[in-house]
Structures are given as C-alpha cells and as structure tokens.
Symmetry: D3
Subunit: 77 residues, 6 copies
Amino acid sequence: MPIVTIDITKEGSTPAATAATAAEKAAIIRGVSQVLLDVLNKPLASTYVVINEVDTDNWGWGGLPALEYRRTLRDAA
Amino acid sequence: MPIVTIDITKEGSTPAATAATAAEKAAIIRGVSQVLLDVLNKPLASTYVVINEVDTDNWGWGGLPALEYRRTLRDAA
Amino acid sequence: MPIVTIDITKEGSTPAATAATAAEKAAIIRGVSQVLLDVLNKPLASTYVVINEVDTDNWGWGGLPALEYRRTLRDAA
Amino acid sequence: MPIVTIDITKEGSTPAATAATAAEKAAIIRGVSQVLLDVLNKPLASTYVVINEVDTDNWGWGGLPALEYRRTLRDAA
Amino acid sequence: MPIVTIDITKEGSTPAATAATAAEKAAIIRGVSQVLLDVLNKPLASTYVVINEVDTDNWGWGGLPALEYRRTLRDAA
Amino acid sequence: MPIVTIDITKEGSTPAATAATAAEKAAIIRGVSQVLLDVLNKPLASTYVVINEVDTDNWGWGGLPALEYRRTLRDAA
C-alpha cells in the first residue's frame, strides 16, 4: 500500500511547455508504480501517487529561489 | 499538537460540484479534530488540519491517472 | 482515494503510557476514515491513513522543543 | 541534504497583499537554509525548501476553518 | 530538483524478512530516480528520495489497521 | 500558523555524534520559527516544527543511497 509523493517544479520539459504534460505525469505514475511492483511486489492497485507541482518562486535551492540559483550555477560554469 | 494533512482529489461530491465545497471542508476539519480530541484528548485549539486538493491528472492509482483507473475498474465490474 | 497523514508527539495519553496505544491508533484510523465517508462519500476501502509518531525533542512549538514550551505555558498560567 | 517543507496560509502580511510576496518567499528560503548551515553545517547547495501556500478554507485550527477560528479568538479577547 | 517521498509499511517482501532490505531500498531509489530522468529529463544528481517505513499499527486502510483490513479482504475472498 | 517539516539524515554533525543532538534540534526549531516571525510576522506560538530524522539507507540522492552517492562525489573530486 505504498504512497508516493513527488514534488516537482511547475516547468515544462521543453521550451514550448510551461508545466509537465498530462502524458508526462501519466508516465511518472506508471513508472514509479512499476518500480514498487518490481522491487517490493506491491500490486499496482495498492499504490497511490501524488504529484505536487510547485511554483518556481516557492522552491528554494542553494539558499535562493530555484531559478535564481540555477542562473548562479550557470554563470559559475 | 497534532498536524493532520489530508490529500483528496479535486472533484465534487455531487454531479454539480467540481471540488469539495467550503462547507464540506469545514465538516472535515471539525470531524477530524474531534477524533483527536475524543481519542487522544488533544484540545481542538492545538490541532492543525491542512487539506490538499489534488488535480485528478496528478493522482495516480493502479499505475494510471486516477480517473483512467476508475474507468478500468468500472469496465471490469 | 484520500490520504490522511497524522503527526502526533510520541507520548501517552495517560501517565502510565509512553506512546499512543494500538487501540488508540485504531480508533483514530476508524474515526478519520469515517469522517471522509460521511462528508465526501469516500469508501473506507479507498482511504489510507498514516500516523507518524514524533519524538518530543523533534517537535517545535513557540520556538522551543514542545515539552519546554508547554512548561512555559504552564508557568505563565 | 535537508528538505524543508513550509505550509503557510495564502494571505498577505500587509493589508494590501493577498499572499506572501516573491521577496518574502526568497527571505524565508534564505533564512531557513542559513539555519541549517549554521546549526548542522549543511551546505546551502544541498538544502531544498518547498513553500506550500494553502487557501484559508483548507486550513483548520480549533476545529474550524482558520479564519473563523481567528475571529473566535479575537471575539474572546 | 524533484523530491520523492515514499511511504511503505515496515514489512519484509519475503517471509524471512521483517522490513525492506538495504538492497531493496537502493533499487527503489535507483528506479524512481531513473523514471524522473527518463520522463522529465531531471538529472539523477538533482533528485532526492526519502523512504519512510511505517509500522503496520500506524497504517490505516479500510477504516482499520492495515493488517486487520488485509485479513478482512482475505476472509472475504 | 505555519507548519515546518524538516527532513534530515540521521547523522552526527561531529565525528563523535551519530545523530543531531537535542541542542542542535532546539537551535533549528528556534532559528526556523524566528525566520517566520521576522519575514511573515507569524507569532512563535503559532508555528509548529517537525524534524524527521531519516536513516541514510532510506535517503536517495543521485540515484543511490546517500552515503554511496557522497563517496562517488568525493572520489570524483
């Protein structure tokens, strides 16, 4: 009866997209549920997955809002 | 000082509704806080409840987005 | 398909107990699941409840570890 | 590698604001990450912070929706 | 920068085991991180996974502690 | 009424320690509650902090258990 919670930033994986698509979210749900079936033998029907999309302003990394920190990393590279 | 977090799908409980109503959310808060008072003697004033409404696209069950899985269950019945 | 997570301090509700008993935890599970059935018409079978017992050292309130803060409140009363 | 999740109500800290501002969220991220660096020596780059803004209807306190409970406290004062 | 939290009951996947093994937990971490790389192109290095093992007494399903509910399901089958 | 949840690995910050000390946890609680007072004007008395100490086996980073990934990083440096 696993419960999987996945926090991701609300961003597209391509320049055209501004958030994960329904197809991407379905693929995450399928993939993660399959891992729990493969490794722990948990039936798909008993796994819940919740995807929590978080505004980039609300995600901190490196002591900064995430987008700002990524810019810092890029500038340093 | 309990903290209760409740994840539900963003759906109405009646055909006309598209999400839990404010009255329903108030009833959940009241009911759950009362359970913690009754069972563990926690004062109402010390219990926090957070209701997290999740888009059905973001909720996985049975390895599928929740609505798709429910259709599968219905078709199998 | 609600998911309910309940954080409580690891303490007994009576002087003899050092933690919630199995019977108390079962009563919480029963009560909370019933609230979601009564209010949102969610079948018991689709609700998951996870109780997370937290050491009092790991719980902060009023800027202090919880037991210390409670002493402060009591002394102030 | 700490993960910090912060639930706050979606409200402004001034009468003009209806939610925490980007600057306030950045200050929370900075401050909380600094605490983990100061106390546990965790590098800023390894701390993630997620701020979860919760509608006041979805936040329970004292067995009531938060705003209603605050009114009760104010009236009792 | 995804954060994945996985709640599972503290049980073995074989009769001899009483909990997930370190190897099983490593396989879950590997598998889930890979899903996020494959689907959303998130680098492995930016994904955190936290596995939370929950005592079966602390897990509710069907309005009952999980083991009790499973017995009910088995008896009904 | 903020709720702050802090996941950290169960490790000491000095070679002699195997976990965060009570004093360190108290300092985290104090520091984080103060940030919410300073930035959002939230009274200390209304902030709850929960520190969740996670076994290093249960923490994934870079697709690996955390300690293994750190070794990889060190070897690569």
